[in-house]
Chain length 259, copies 2
């Protein structure tokens, strides 16, 4: 299993932040990671200090059918296929495509990097997704093999899980039989706050088979890091959230090895 | 100006929370408010203690063309037209509708409440929106007269503003010439945190003509309230966020009167 998507239709739950920082933590452990930003907001790019226009983004790569020349390399072992706001237009344009649900899957399958297929050059491919269950998200669900659900420790985020799981089951049945729920990460956890604790307990009960033990704490440094174009691990290495992301990387690797 | 939408494609920035609590604050000042939940996540409903199935939601109201029988009244002067997850399907179904961009606008225009047109019975109509710029959001932008932009005091939220303003300008030109940016509300403001202050200063500079002076502080009580199905004003009346929402209501009314 190499291709993972960070998905949750509830907005602002930490999808981009976990995708960036888990990718960065794994790159520090000498794994080669490609982070694909498939959200028109292009936050994964700006969180790594990269902003591009339409011609240099995944939007153009989809039009051309290949993505090698669009891939950037902002940190050692960490590569990015950036997005742009023009991806919003893709939503409507995709409707007329013949295999409209498989556009991203085919892009990944048909592309190379330094003369190797993407899945051979990279150890893992991560995909950041927008907060919706639209055609862009369907494309992500058919392109990936494993799903990681970021879950903010708040009430509305917990409430949205049943819709998310239902949608994933639907895609697995109709478009991507290999799709698997790989993990659920509790984030923005504040141990002083009763609600955080209650949400965490509830999630552990319902998802005990996929929940990661590592909790990502709420920390101001995490929300400051993107304005410097850096993962929090580079911006504030001794911060408790940075340590948590490194621990999450170890837990992720253990789970991969034990499959 | 009576119909306001709470819009921001960035996820988790406080759209639902501000829509619910501003509506509740105005209802305490004896204004009759209809809150329309046009987000498939249906958070505005659950934040008021209401969850309904497809047949009792706005999804069904759109099919029938009228909404009176679907309107609930959870608090004095505060009415809700609830959503359901089936609204996700509307996104695809709307594509074949003849006036697909005006479905919500026509529903509001053609509906009555206690024998009066909606705009005559209610003092204000608020619309909560999903975190996207899809056809559902286009419907909201053509149905409303004024836009209120909730802005979380974080970097990614600030970054998304230019895309939002561009989209609003596009809709004003093509589908809704009366559309106006009415206000911008800074929320989840944490005075101990440098980033909050920087984002607030930057937003005040670029949007000084529409920004509300009232800042909504970050407060755990706000995120606890939805699990009790209540606005924070009812759940924790003496909380600093509750006071801020009441102040925001006064500022909102002043701005309406001085137009
Ligand atoms: N552990 C954390 N501690 C503090 N702030 C955090 C943490 N994780 C994320 N944030 C902040 O919370 C906000 C939301 O996170 P993020 O943008 O990653 O969520 P998202 O799910 O990708 O949002 P969207 O739905 O818009 O794509 C951001 O401003 C981010 O900096
Ligand atoms: N002032 C505040 N203080 C603390 N928490 C808040 C505050 N405002 C909102 N929240 C919490 O932050 C989270 C995001 O808020 P909310 O769901 O209202 O945002 P949204 O923009 O409607 O999200 P979406 O994009 O998913 O529709 C919720 O869990 C909410 O309870
Ligand atoms: Mg994101
Ligand atoms: Mg919302």
């Amino acid at each position: 299993m190499k291709i993972f998507a960070f998905i949750n239709q509830k907005g602002g739950v930490g999808k981009t932040t976990i995708a960036i920082n888990l990718a960065r933590a794994l790159s520090l452990r000498d794994y080669k990671i490609l982070l694909i930003d498939f959200d028109p907001q292009a936050n994964a790019g700006s969180g790594l200090g990269i902003k591009v226009g339409k011609e240099e983004s995944i939007y153009q790569a989809i039009i051309e059918g290949y993505c090698e020349k669009f891939i950037k390399n902002p940190f050692p072992n960490l590569y990015l296929l950036p997005s742009s706001i023009d991806l919003v237009g893709l939503e409507v344009e995709l409707v007329e495509y013949p295999n409209r649900e498989y556009v991203l899957k085919n892009l990944i399958k048909n592309s190379f990097y330094q003369d190797k297929p993407l899945k051979d050059f990279f150890d893992f491919i991560f995909i950041d997704s927008p907060p919706s269950l639209s055609l862009i998200t369907v494309n992500i669900l058919t392109a990936c093999e494993g799903i990681i659900i970021p879950l903010q420790c708040e009430y509305y985020a917990l409430e949205g899980l049943s819709l998310l799981v239902k949608t994933i089951r639907g895609i697995k049945k109709s478009l991507n039989p290999d799709l698997m729920l790989f993990g659920l990460v509790l984030t923005m956890y504040d141990k002083r706050n009763k609600l955080s604790h209650e949400v965490a307990e509830e999630a552990k009960e319902h998802f005990k088979w996929i929940i990661f033990n590592t909790l990502i704490p709420r920390s101001v440094r995490v929300s400051e890091a993107p304005s410097f174009g850096k993962p929090v691990i580079d911006y504030s290495p001794n911060n408790k959230a940075s340590e948590a992301f490194l621990k999450l990387a170890d837990e992720f690797l253990e789970r991969i090895k034990s499959r």
